[in-house]
């Protein structure tokens, strides 16, 4: 049982290292750029997979949480507080040690919130919003839940698009790197940034986060809580009768997946050096949902693989202007021929297609 869970993990770790070694030796490290970005999106998608596939709660608003993370992280670390230096608030923040002085690229003096503090703030805000929103929203079911989460996503999108603080249509640019570990002694530090010389290190940061995130979720779904979540998915009424506090479990997992999305948002924004409103758009949320579905909903490995691979290909631009069309076609094909996700394809579809479960009398 346990071994079957950790073998693939070891496999993916080895794969990640191999890819890095291979690209470095062949001088093709540029592949790491998109692999890094894809890993962060992967983090959003596995978080959503637990919410959707296991707990059975659809959310067409997860781009909103990603954006909350990314935008707050970006805004706090870019907006210059120098002008407000004397205000009580800023002084207080300074004493807390969350501010950071610096220089921007054109040599101007800056006083901004340090990335660590910004990251914590961003993720906390996302978690808090998820918590407050989750209480009423998760009482809804099915299409109604879908609409409410979609509405939430739209609200976030509208807010970032309309607020000067968030840069309106242009979003926020020139976000500084995020030094996770300062350089100590002979060891170089760890910095999340898109500059060409941090590439390998960022590749590892991103994949480490993704793999750790994955292990945590794999553990979770394999635990008492995971079982409870699946039970809620299966039948909320019965789960409740078994003593599961369905409202609380749904809320917790909603917050958890929001935290995943927000973390991904913070890190990817530092890596990209900016964020734009399209990251908060409904289409983005729909894309996340679709990727989870294509990966097989309640199949973390499937969603991880589909999420990373499709995002990687799209970011490489290999489908050119047909990117969306290809994505749509993949959605349809997978849902038609491998409704349990791409990983189920080789087993079921090839063996006994057409003999699929017939109309089960429960009536779906």
């Amino acid at each position: 049982m346990r071994r079957s869970k950790f073998l693939p993990i070891a496999g993916i770790v080895i794969l990640v290292v191999l890819v890095q070694i291979l690209t470095t030796t062949t001088g093709t490290q540029y592949y790491l750029t998109q692999l890094t970005m894809a890993a962060y999106y992967g983090l959003v998608i596995i978080g959503l997979s637990v919410l959707m596939g296991y707990a059975g709660q659809i959310s067409i608003g997860h781009a909103g949480f990603f954006a909350i993370g990314g935008y707050i992280g970006a805004a706090l670390t870019t907006h210059n507080l120098l002008a407000m230096q004397d205000s009580g608030m800023v002084q207080w923040l300074g004493r807390l040690g969350v501010l950071m002085a610096g220089q921007d690229l054109y040599g101007e003096q800056l006083l901004v919130v340090s990335p660590w503090a910004a990251c914590i703030a961003a993720v906390s805000v996302a978690a808090l919003i998820a918590f407050v929103l989750g209480i009423p929203v998760l009482k809804l079911k099915g299409h109604y839940l879908a609409m409410a989460t979609l509405g939430f996503g739209t609200i976030i999108y509208r807010i970032v698009l309309a607020s000067e603080y968030f840069g309106e249509a242009d979003g926020i640019s020139e976000v500084p790197g995020f030094t996770i570990l300062p350089a100590l002694g002979g060891l170089g530090g760890l910095t999340v940034s898109g500059s060409f010389d941090h590439r390998v290190e960022n590749y590892y940061i991103a994949w480490a986060m993704l793999i750790i995130g994955l292990v945590l979720l794999l553990n979770l779904i394999d635990s008492r809580v995971g079982r409870a979540l699946r039970a809620i998915h299966g039948s909320e009424e019965a789960a409740e009768a078994m003593g599961i506090d369905t409202a609380r479990f749904k809320l917790n997992v909603f917050v958890l997946s929001a935290v995943y999305a927000a973390l991904a948002g913070v890190f990817l924004t530092h890596y990209n050096g900016g964020i734009g409103p399209s990251e908060a758009s409904v289409m983005k949320s729909v894309r996340y949902v679709a990727l989870v579905a294509v990966g097989g909903m309640a199949n973390l490995w499937g969603t991880l693989i589909m999420g990373v691979v499709l995002t990687f290909l799209s970011l490489r631009g290999i489908f050119g202007s047909y990117d969306d069309a290809v994505f749509g076609a993949i959605l349809i094909l997978v849902m038609l021929f491998a409704p349990d996700g791409i990983l189920s394809l080789n087993l079921k579809a090839l063996l006994a297609r057409g003999k699929r479960k017939s109309t089960d009398l429960e009536g779906r």
């Binding site: 299409h143 509208r158 679709a290 109309t359």
Partner: protein, 296 residues
């Protein structure tokens, strides 16, 4: 607020609302037979507009519209036959994802057929600056067309689903597919028919709205989102509900302009809608009883 302004907002709100409602109704039709939301509904609206505009080059307006409606209905039927019909026992989410995929594909195909530029049908009566004074407010005659078409459609559909055997049979398909089969109903044909019907209504909406809103290959998406919102808010499956919710949303949007910057309009109106939804989790006119008995 002056009465003039009051009415001007009111009419603006009704205009928006009716447009949302008519898209929302399209959702309801397919929902009523399959229990799913067809996210490609917005694309039917776009197709209606685009096809009629293309046809207009060779035939007169009424023929162009009729042609567009028929062609879109065929597209709807084709989609159902190719992508939905043969699925054995699709789950709700699977169908939803398929329709999302379809909506993306249709959009891309439209982009390749018609390009990225905007098009529109001419005003049915008068032109861009013709207005009619209604009380102190002035509106474009096209708005009356939209309202009229929507009214006819809603009345027709409500009657259809409530009172005709075919409508009842279509609802039965979504209530319990197996049971419908056991009653001898050809559920597959019902689903095909519902796709045709909603495609047709979507296309008709696309035609009457086109002069006001213009048509672009991706104009379906935004409409679909609003239509979906309205369908949910009105209580899924309930056409009257969709109209009421649509007009409510439109009016909230219109009046919200008077108090907040336009840029925040959607944020405000959707917040209000969410609050309504929290109080009435099954929509304004949805029955909580019925919703509890549904699976998704």
């Amino acid at each position: 607020m002056t009465t003039e302004l009051f009415f001007q907002y009111l009419f603006a709100g009704i205009t928006y609302g009716i447009m949302y409602a008519i898209v929302g109704i399209g959702f309801n039709i397919i929902y009523n037979t399959t229990g799913i939301i067809n996210f490609a509904q917005g694309e039917f609206v776009m197709l209606g507009g685009m096809i009629s505009i293309s046809l207009l080059q060779v035939v007169p307006l009424p023929v162009a519209i009729a042609g567009a409606v028929v062609i879109t209905m065929l597209v709807g039927a084709l989609i159902e036959i190719v992508f939905i019909r043969w699925l054995d026992n699709p789950s709700v989410l699977r169908m939803i994802i398929i329709t999302i995929g379809l909506s993306i594909l249709i959009r891309e195909v439209a982009l390749h057929i018609w390009g990225e530029s905007i098009r529109s049908l001419p005003y049915f009566y008068g032109n861009e600056i013709t207005t009619i004074a209604i009380g102190p407010a002035r509106i474009s005659p096209q708005v009356l067309w939209v309202i009229g078409v929507c009214g006819v459609v809603v009345a027709g559909l409500s009657l259809f689903f409530k009172a005709t055997p075919l409508g009842r049979e279509m609802r039965a398909c979504s209530a319990n597919r197996t049971a419908a089969i056991l009653c001898g109903i050809n559920t597959r044909n019902m689903v095909t028919f519902s796709f045709m019907l909603s495609a047709g209504i979507g296309a008709l909406a696309g035609c009457v709205m086109s002069p006001i809103t213009y048509t672009q290959y991706d104009s379906g998406t935004a409409l679909a989102i609003k239509g979906f919102t309205v369908a949910i808010l009105g209580g899924l499956g309930n056409s009257m509900g969709a109209v009421a919710a649509g007009i409510l949303l439109g009016i909230i949007e219109a009046y919200s302009v008077s108090v907040v910057p336009l840029a925040f309009q959607d944020a405000i109106s959707i917040t209000i809608l969410l609050i309504i939804l929290f109080v009435r989790p099954h929509g304004l006119f949805g029955s909580s009883e019925a919703a509890r008995l549904k699976e998704f």
